[in-house]
């Protein structure tokens, strides 16, 4: 929950679906969910760690938020198709469920 609060602060996104358990429980999400881009940024971080920051110049990301991220979830980034122009990218939770799915195009390896 602290990460969600910190991300709310850095982005200014205080949507109660992220911060108010009572409000969030009454939505179709059924409870608090993390900001989608909080998890999406893990993809940028993954590429920077594995390929260097310069690798992201010209990078194109196209993802869908396919499942909610709940408080306490552990997330892992997976990128398939190393070296290919278009790579499948996912962020999965501790149960192996994809919370983000999409493609990443890098200009050069």
């Amino acid at each position: 929950m602290q990460a969600i609060r910190d991300y709310a602060e850095i982005t200014g996104d205080y949507n109660p679906i992220h911060l108010d358990p009572e409000f969030a429980a009454k939505t179709p999400m059924g409870g608090v969910i993390a900001h989608g881009t909080l998890s999406m940024n893990l993809i940028w971080r993954h590429i920077e760690l594995n390929h260097g920051r310069a690798a992201l110049q010209g990078a194109q990301l196209d993802i869908k938020f396919v499942a909610p991220v709940r408080v306490g979830d552990t997330l892992t980034v997976t990128v398939a198709g190393d070296g290919q122009a278009e790579r499948q990218v996912s962020v999965v939770n501790q149960s192996g469920l994809a919370v983000i799915d999409g493609v990443l195009r890098l200009q050069a390896d």
Partner: protein
């Protein structure tokens, strides 16, 4: 008091006022706390700060928003590194809206330039609008 920005009030093709800011030391410290990486030795910010700047522009310029909107899809292109001290101006524009399976979908395009007019990033946000 400004009227709530409901789905009906989005005008496809219309831009919101630009949002300009320079990432603050506090923002960078918060980023490092969240993700563990920091500004490079050459002053380049982590690439994900582009996402933060886009979201901040959205928060400041697209509203007042009904509570409970859902971020469904995100496209993003990193065009130029953002460095410490850069003043980033982001403009958001509604490019599409539609009802789909009783859900209100709104698509916003973001374009951001630095103080030299260099394009830094573009984004396309697809949101399920709450009201």
């Amino acid at each position: 008091m400004t009227e709530m920005l409901t789905f009906e009030r989005f005008q496809v093709g219309a831009s919101f006022d630009p949002w300009m800011e320079t990432p603050s030391p506090q923002m960078l410290a918060s980023w490092e706390k969240l993700y563990g990486d920091a500004t490079g030795e050459n002053g380049e910010l982590p690439s994900g700060m582009a996402t933060v700047l886009m979201m901040r522009a959205y928060m400041h310029r697209v509203g007042p928003r009904p509570p409970g909107n859902i971020h469904a899809r995100q496209q993003m292109t990193i065009q130029h590194p953002i460095c410490q001290g850069d003043a980033i101006t982001t403009v958001l524009r509604c490019v599409h809206k539609e009802m789909r399976k009783e859900r209100r979908y709104v698509t916003l395009e973001a374009q951001a330039n630095n103080q030299r007019g260099e394009p830094c990033f573009t984004g396309v946000m697809t949101l399920i609008w709450a009201a």
